[in-house]
């Protein structure tokens, strides 16, 4: 092995501190200061280059001749160290015979960390002085750090805005008196059900005798009745059903996945029963009931929202016309024989 030093080494150490000079047999005879730092404590000088680094691309014979054949090409390497650091490189094959920049028949290989530079800087404890003055690594590290900090600030802002948006939406979809959903929420859910072509039952529920409570015991009593009623309706429905208060004493229920008339009928009966439980207000009994009209999306060839709302409403009026405190499921016959508009 030749340990002759060449004047070019000084130049290379400054311009390419991550270079290695190989002799004709492919052994490392000189290495730039940064490469030495990377190999601190591990053998480098005197080692066969291909035993300390693996040439991943291009695929050539793992010999010095193979390496020299890569003259000028872009090399992808991986150190055979613990962390298996990825590296990019370029190799210059030195001429045979006459001495030039280094050992005849040898090679100069310059290395860089490429994209793994962030890890490498940490793993090998590198600093600004380890990179050539013209190298952009420090600027790149600066940018990565600056952008990460800015991104983190933006991410936090996004999280806070998202939280605020969810709260605002929740508020915009909620009836403040009862905590039920409002008409906006109902429209939203109906639209989604139509878009995803899911079956559901649509139910209109009007309280009966509510006006009397308001008139005789005052609005505070009325409010308490509404809040009680809301709780009871919620207790009778499932989590993925929607209960909306759409007017003073008007409610709409959307019952997801309900397709059987018998089932709908049973739910309506149960709802009316639970509404009739008296509400106590200042020691006074407030009694209300409810009328229900309902329709099923599966009853239509192609469900149409406006049509279903109309039919469900029509059924509600039929229920009121039949003396209230009862329910009517929509039937096309109702249209043939429209009920008189009930009065509240």
């Amino acid at each position: 092995m030749s340990d002759e030093t060449y004047p070019s080494y000084d130049l290379l150490d400054v311009l390419c501190p991550m270079h290695a000079v190989l002799n004709a047999s492919g052994h490392v005879v000189h290495a730039g200061p940064t490469l030495q730092k990377v190999f601190a404590g591990k053998p480098l000088i005197g080692e066969r280059f291909l035993e300390i680094a693996e040439l991943r691309r291009p695929h050539v014979a793992e010999t010095m001749a193979g390496l020299r054949g890569c003259h000028g090409a872009r090399l992808h390497l991986r150190l055979r160290d613990g962390v298996r650091t990825g590296m990019k490189g370029v190799l210059i094959a030195l001429p045979q015979g006459a001495a030039s920049l280094g050992p005849p028949g040898g090679a100069i290989i310059n290395l860089s960390f490429g994209i793994s530079v962030v890890d490498a800087v940490r793993d090998f404890g590198l600093n600004a002085g380890d990179f050539p003055a013209t190298d952009l690594t420090i600027e790149m590290l600066y940018l990565i750090e600056a952008k990460s900090a800015a991104m983190e600030a933006s991410r936090k802002l996004n999280l806070r805005l998202q939280g605020a948006r969810i709260a605002a939406e929740e508020q915009a979809y909620t009836d403040t008196l009862t905590g039920l959903k409002n008409r906006r929420a109902m429209d939203h859910v109906l639209e989604r059900l139509m878009q995803t072509e899911q079956d559901f039952a649509l139910m209109h529920l009007d309280l009966d005798y509510f006006k009397q409570v308001n008139d005789t015991l005052g609005h505070a009593a009325g409010d308490q009745v509404l809040q009680n009623v809301a709780r009871r309706i919620l207790a009778q429905t499932r989590a993925d059903d929607l209960v909306a208060r759409t007017g003073g004493d008007e409610f709409v229920l959307i019952l997801a996945g309900v397709t059987a008339r018998a089932r709908l009928s049973e739910i309506a009966t149960r709802l009316i029963l639970c509404l009739e439980e008296p509400v106590m207000y200042n020691g006074q009994e407030c009694r209300v009931s409810g009328s229900i009209g309902a329709t099923l999306s599966c009853a239509y060839e192609t469900p149409d929202l406006a049509r279903m709302m109309e039919d469900s409403d029509l059924a509600l009026y039929a229920a009121k016309a039949r003396g209230r405190a009862c329910h009517v499921l929509y039937d096309p016959a109702l249209r043939a024989d429209p009920p008189l508009h009930g009065t509240d």
């Binding site: 962030v118 800087v121 940490r122 600093n127 600066y142 940018l143 990565i144 750090e145 600056a146 800015a150």
Partner: protein, 200 residues
């Protein structure tokens, strides 16, 4: 004014004087919020009002307050980013001083709408420098005193011994005189390239 500036003022007050002092001051201004968002923009007037209210509340002159804020941004252990990003400017304090010329550009690379004053360093030889602090583009707040605080803290960070003197303001600029007494006076704080970045 960029939210980062207002947020820095807020963090300075919270970390130095406590939450109550901050809330008391900001509520008095009746802005409708008590926290600044780092990534939003505020009217320059808001920043001025906050600073004036703070000066009154803390019984400090505005210049002293500004300098304290500058020092805080670099030296408080809870906010690492400004110190680290400035340390990228140079391997020693002299190197760092020369990097100040590019600071506004560097900052723009990180946060494009962060409007920092232009800085211009002149080397008078024998460790004597003057730094000209220009105006910002979108507001007329004079940040020279903040820069003073930053320089003082960065000198500590590098372990350099410096003498700083504020030489006054004219129409479009402020001038700070820097006298470098010793570059390696103390050991300073360590700076590892790979310590920030991906860990945030």
């Amino acid at each position: 004014m960029h939210g980062l500036v207002n947020r820095a003022i807020e963090r300075f007050v919270r970390d130095t004087y406590g939450r109550d002092v901050w809330l008391e001051t900001i509520r008095r201004l009746d802005l409708g919020y008590t926290e600044f968002e780092a990534m939003m923009t505020y009217e320059p007037q808001v920043t001025k009002e906050v600073l004036a209210a703070l000066a009154t509340r803390l019984g400090k002159d505005l210049p002293d307050l500004f300098e304290d804020i500058g020092t805080y941004m670099i030296s408080h252990p809870d906010i690492e980013a400004p110190r680290r990003l400035l340390r990228f400017g140079g391997v020693d304090f002299v190197d760092f001083l020369h990097s100040l010329d590019d600071l506004a550009e560097r900052a723009r690379l990180a946060v494009f709408d962060l409007d920092l004053p232009t800085l211009e360093l002149r080397d008078h030889g024998e460790g004597s420098y003057s730094l000209t602090v220009g105006l910002c583009e979108h507001h007329d707040l004079r940040l020279g005193r903040v820069v003073m605080g930053v320089l003082r803290a960065m000198a500590d960070d590098y372990g350099a011994l410096v003498f700083l003197e504020y030489r006054g303001a004219s129409a479009g600029r402020e001038v700070i005189l820097i006298r470098l007494l010793e570059t390696a006076f103390a050991s300073g704080r360590s700076f590892e390239l790979g310590a920030g970045g991906l860990t945030g």
